[in-house]
Structures are given as C-alpha cells and as structure tokens.
C-alpha cells in the first residue's frame, strides 16, 4: 500500500480511538445534568460518582485527539493547514470547551463549596455538549465536501459549515456519545444509578438509531462509495445490538456494541472522503491524499515511529482500564477533601 494511503488509514484509526474513548467521556459529562436524582447532597454525590468513573482515564483519552492532530500536521501538512484555518471558529469553540472541561475536572474537588462545584459542573456541561455536537459538524462537512480554491484554501465561509447535513451530523455524534456514555455508566457503576443509566441507555439507543442512523444513511446515499454500505450495516446492527444487550443487562456487550457503532461511523466518514482528505463541493476543487501528503521519506520515519509505539500505547492504556476496573457506587466516594472557600480567601503568604 502507498504510504500516504496508509497514513490516511492511521489518521482514521486515531480518530476512531479518540471518538470511541472520549465519546463516553463526553457522554458521562452530559449525563451529569440528567442522571443524578434525590436530595441535593445525594445528587452531588452522584455527580461526583459520575466524574470519578472517568477520573483516571479521561486525560489519556484526550491524547488521541492531540495525536490525531499532530499526525495530520506531520503526514498531511496541507490538510492540517486547510482544515484548521478553514474551520477556525468551530475549532476555537471546541478548544475553549475542552479547556473549561479539563480544568473543571481537576479543580472541582479542590474547593469544598457548592457554588464552586456548580460553576465547575457548568464548565463540564458546556465542555461536553459543545464538542459532542461540533465534532459531528466538522466531520460531516468533510464528508459533504467544502469549497476550496486552487491554492487549497477554504473559501466557503462560516455559515456554509452549518448546513442541514452537517447539523444532523452534529446531532448524530451527540446521540451516539450520549448513548455511549449511558452504557459506560451502567458498566462502571453499581446500585440505583446503574439501573437508571440502563433505563436512559434504552431510550437513547432508539434516539441514536433514528438520528445517527438517519445521518449515516444520508451520508451513504448522497456522498459515499458502495463498499461503505458495509459500515452502514455494521452501524445498524451495532445500534440494534445495544438495545438488545442493554435490555438483557449485558453491559459489557452493550458497551462494545456502542463502541462498534462509533467505529462504523468513522469508517463511513473516512471511506466517503477517500481518495480526498477534503473533498470539494459540487465538483469543485478538492484536496486529495496525494496532494496533501508529506514526502515518502517523512512518511517512512513516521511509520517506523507509529509501528514501534502505537502497540505500546494501546497496551499500557488498556492496563489502566484494568487497574480501575472496579464498579463504583456512591459509597466509594470519600468526603470532599478540598479546602473551604473561606480558607482559600484567607491565604496569607
């Protein structure tokens, strides 16, 4: 296989890793406003429980995005330059959302104060809902194609990115991540919240089947090649499977299948773009894999590095999931260890 094509596949794999892993992080973050029930202190405990289901792993999950972006820069400089400058405002919004969310995770427990926790939860909400939608909008536009000039500069403007197909794409990733998150919570917790998460997952599996399934069909019919019907079939089967296994209480299977649905979506997205990295619109200029790629020498170096390191990354990252495999309940959540707001204000140094 041509090295440039190989790197197109590798970048698709990196996006798969990112969306499968951070997909449930986003889902858990979004569900923090939906799942908790009961009195105020019980809800706070459940919110903390939810944050802690992803506590040890979310940062490692996000590195898949950093690696995907870095690999795009290195292997396809033209793609990186056109995409990132062209999709400027959506990416800005995603960046700000991710910043707020990460800081809120880390600092939420540092100050023991209800108002502080509320503000951090707001940052987590914004930081989960916004990227969950916008990543879909970005990727759907890559499927649909964008307006490029002869120098491979994006000339479509901001509003062209907010077309119906892309907006439905945003809702597709949103529902997929909500479902993925609910299934993950059911897998990672025990007690009442586990049952509630399964109930939500049941509803969400129908919603995702309609919304994400609808978008996948539209993408396939309007923009993709014949072979990606396989991905469409996989997505459909996986989403149906989530509903069935979730109802049967097979949470491990439900999680595997919701992950498979995301994998299928990524295969469809990258499969429909191929052989372009940024397809043109209405037969206009496009940016192809060959045009965007780095030189064979650079790609060869990158290939060696990826071959040597990626299996290791997968190995030690899987190990952390094994280390933190225990199901959590609200009883596992210790009393808040943060300093009170008064103490923070009184600091004398």
């Amino acid at each position: 296989m041509d090295l440039a094509v190989l790197w197109f596949v590798i970048i698709a794999v990196l996006w798969t890793g990112y969306l499968v892993l951070e997909g449930f992080d986003f889902g858990v973050g979004m569900l923090m406003s939906v799942l908790p029930r009961g009195r105020a202190d019980q809800r706070e405990k459940e919110r903390r429980l939810l944050v802690n289901t992803i506590g040890p792993v979310w940062d490692g999950n996000e590195v898949w995005l950093i690696t995907a972006a870095g690999a795009t820069f290195a292997a396809f400089p033209e793609w990186y330059a056109t995409l990132f400058s062209g999709f400027y405002l959506p990416l800005l919004a995603i960046l700000v959302a991710l910043i707020g969310r990460a800081v809120a995770f880390e600092y939420r427990g540092k100050i023991a104060d209800a108002g502080w926790a509320r503000r951090c939860d707001l940052a987590i909400q914004v930081g989960s809902w916004v990227p969950a939608v916008l990543w879909g909008v970005v990727l759907a536009n890559l499927v649909r194609g964008v307006a490029l000039d002869a120098d491979h500069q994006y000339v479509g403007g901001l509003w062209a990115l907010l077309n119906p197909f892309a907006l439905l794409g945003g809702l597709a990733t949103l529902t997929l991540f909500l479902l993925h998150g609910a299934v993950f919570v059911a897998l990672k917790t025990d007690g009442e919240i586990r049952a509630r998460a399964r109930g939500h997952a049941q509803v969400l599996s129908v919603l995702a089947a309609v919304v994400a399934g609808g978008w996948v069909l539209w993408a396939q019919v309007a923009y993709s090649a014949t072979w990606t019907w396989g991905a469409v079939a996989l997505a459909a089967a996986a989403l149906a499977g989530v509903a069935v296994t979730n109802r049967a209480g097979r949470e491990g299977w439900a999680f595997t299948l919701s992950a498979a649905a995301i994998v299928a979506a990524v295969v469809l997205i990258f499969g429909s773009m191929f052989p372009a990295v940024m397809p043109g619109i209405d037969g206009g200029e496009s940016l192809t894999i060959a045009e965007a790629a780095s030189t064979p020498y650079t790609l060869r170096i990158l290939t060696w590095v990826a071959v040597a390191l990626t299996p290791l990354v997968v190995l030690y990252q899987s190990w952390t999931y094994w280390v933190f495999r225990r199901r959590l309940t609200t009883d596992h959540i210790p009393a808040p260890a943060g300093l009170t707001w008064q103490k923070i204000k009184d600091a004398a140094f």
Binding site: P56, D59, V63, I99, T295, Y297, Y316
Partner: protein, 501 residues
Amino acid sequence: MDALDLARWQFAITTVYHFIFVPLTIGLAPLVAGMQTAWVVTGNERWLRLTKFFGKLLLINFALGVVTGIVQEFQFGMTWSEYSRFVGDVFGAPLAIEALAAFFVESVFLGVWIFGWDRVSKKVHLACIWALAVATNLSAFFILAANSWMQHPVGAVYNPETGRAEMSSIGEVLTNSTLWAAYPHAIAAAFLTAGTFVAGIATWWMVRLVRTRRPEAVATAREVYRPAVLVGVVTILVAGVGVAVSGDVQGKLMFEQQPGKMASAEALCEGEEAAAFSVLTVGDLGAGCDGVRHLVTIPGLASYLGTGHFSGPESYLPGVADVQEAYSERYGDLTAAGEPVTYTPPLEITYWSFRLMIGLAGFSAALAVAALWFTRKGRVSDNLWLSRLAVAAIPAPFLASSFGWIFTEVGRQPWVVAPNPTGIDQIRLLTERGVSTAVPPGMVLASMVTFTLVYGVLAVVWFRLMRRYAVEGAPDVVHDESPEARAEDADDADRPLSFAY
C-alpha cells in the same frame, strides 16, 4: 491591527502563558518522583508527606499546562496555516512523535499516579511518577527540536515545485546544534524554577514553624521542611550551573547562526572588536540603535559571549547595520507593501528581555546561598528576611523563562524560519508570510480576545489554588495506602477511593 498583528499577539499571549506552567511541571515532576523514591527506599514518613504536598501543587499546575498545550498544537494550523504548509514536512514530525512518545505516557500514568495509591503496588506506583517525569522531559526535547529547526533549519531540502521545505534527514533535525544547546538550557531553567519553588515554599514554612517556638512545630521544621529546603537548594545550584554553561554555548551559536539577534541583544549599532556588554542604557531603544547611550558597560564581555574572545580580531561582533547590509545583499526580501525588509528584531524587546532573563535568575541564586547559610550544620532558621527572600524568589525564574522565550522568539524576527547561514537559502520564511490567509482579522480578534479572557480567569484560579495549597502545608498524618500495606482480609470491594475528584 491586521490579521498578522493579531495572530502575532495571540501567539505571544498563548505561548508565554503556556510556558508559565511547563517549566514547573518539567522540573517538579522529577523532584516529586525523587521524594517518593526516598520514601519507598527509606520508609521515612517525611518523604511521603512532602510527596503528597508537592504532588498536589504539581497536579494543580499540570492541568493548566495540558489544556494550554492543546491550543499551541491547534494554532499552527488555525492562525499560521501558510507557515504550516511551508514547514509541515519537517516540523510536523517532532510534534507527532511528541504526542505518541510522551503525551500518552504523561497522561496515562499520571491518571494511575493520582488515583492508584491503593490500586497498584508501591513500586509500580513509584514507576508511574517516574514515567511522568521522564515523559515531560522527553516532550520538551521534541518541542525544542521543532523550535530549534525554526531557529536554525537543518536536515531539509527545498522543493522548488511546491515551494516547501522537505525533510531529508531526521537525524540532522534531531542532532541540530541549536537543539542540543537549547534543550539543556530549557531543562536546566525548568529545574531552576522547580528548585526555587520547592526551596522557596519549604523555607517559608521552616521559618514560620520555628517562629511559633512550639517544640513540635520546630521539630516539623527540622524533620520535614529543612530536608525539602536542601532538595530545592541543591537543585538550584546544579541547575544554575547548567543554565549558565548551556546559555554560554547558546550565545556562541547565536553569533554564528543569528547574528542579528546577537547584535540586537547588545544594542550594538556598528560592528566592533572587544565589544562591551551593556548593563544599562538610556535613550530610546525603540528608535533604533542610534538613540542609544550605554551607561554601564563591562568591557569585552559581549564579544566573549558571542565569540569566546574578549579582545583581538577574533572578538569582532557584527552590529545591526552590518547584519542589515549582509542580509539585504544575500536575501533582498520585500515586505508585502514592497518595502525592503528590516532584518533585525525590535531592539528594545531583545535588549531588555535578555537582561531581565539573566538578572531574574539572580533571585534563585540569592535564595540558595542564603538558605544554605541559615541551615548550615543542621540548623533551622527563624529569620524573617530569609522567609521574605524565599517568597520573592519563587516567581523570579518563571519570569526569567518568559523573558528567555520572548528574547529568543522576538529576536528571530523578521523570520519565522530564520535562514541557516551555512544552509539552503530558500529555506527561510518571513513571519508575515506564515500567517493564515483564509482567516479574516475579525476571527483572529475573536479568538485572541477569547483566549486572553479565558486564560486570565484561569490564571487567577491557578494562582489562588497554588498559593492556598502551599500555605496549607504538608499533611500532618499520612499513611501507606499501598496494597501490600493492607491487611489480608481487607475487603477491596467496599473500600472508598483513596483519591476522588
């Protein structure tokens, strides 16, 4: 302001801000790892208390380093897309390798370190903080490899068909002389920052406890904080020597590779032999070197910094005017407006940032010497002036690092990729040609304002948390949470998390 100015301001703001957190993480992670090692090896509880104390501060700091780092990676493509097209074939590789080789290790093992005190064995847990420490230092290497290539492009050829730089040797990129001077300098500066941080906080605590006159407090000062002071002081001394030696090597390289930066740092108008190092100037540096009067100078020192000779023909340092003439002849670039390019950077920024970088490092040295004296032969001190010096010294190396980067990046102007005098002339890029052309000024303004506001709020939160958790001090009671220290019959399923958000 046009998109170019806005993009420059945004890059300056986000980069200087990012590098507030980075040096502390790079230096403090190995120090905390060292403290935890001391606990595992000796079993002495003081080291566990210090590990928990400085570990908490490390985590508060690490979070902001991570989130501001993602912005750095994205904005090459967002606001500097034409730069990215020109250099991507070379510059992208170290960034991708950094993510794969270092960021994954950092993030994954940090998660285990924070949450895994009771889930993995003591040795594995210790290995996690060391993995973090090594990875942060490794990531610095790849980032500096990328930056050094912008200062001194090597291992690349120019493709006239695409108008792009292409990598011809990853070996040359990774053995760039500029990199091997910049890397030790940046790492030594990071350890200087962390050493000052540890010594500063521990000294303040020592003095505070001794002043209470309560026997158990004085005992804590002696048993817990005095060793931490020494850890910090030794780190400052070793790192200080490293900063000076590597900085000296960098000066000589800069003389060969970027004579314009050197001349501007010295506000040297015309070239001369035995050039003096100017400590203080009056006059308007902004108006160019003609407006400058050097007030306090050290004879021959500028020549020595650049050439290794105090006097004689070999000590000749070219001035701003010489560089302008030579570069105009060799490259003859025109600006977008059709004017000849000014090949030297803004004097007032390079001149002062260079001096502030060096001068601010003096605070760390003063603290090290004072703290060594007051803790000699097992003593603890209640000296208030020592305590004040300790607190004053903490921010100094952070600022010195900022000024160091301002110097090296502004000093490279007008280039974003400075031409290598002994390399391929076509591999050079004016900063004004690197900016994104597809992004209108309004969008850059929006992002610049957004980042500035968000970063401003985060700076306040970060500072208050760091200060307050430093004032909180090391925990009084710690216990070994590791699985091997647990009773055999302890029920794993019901045990609360050892750490939770």
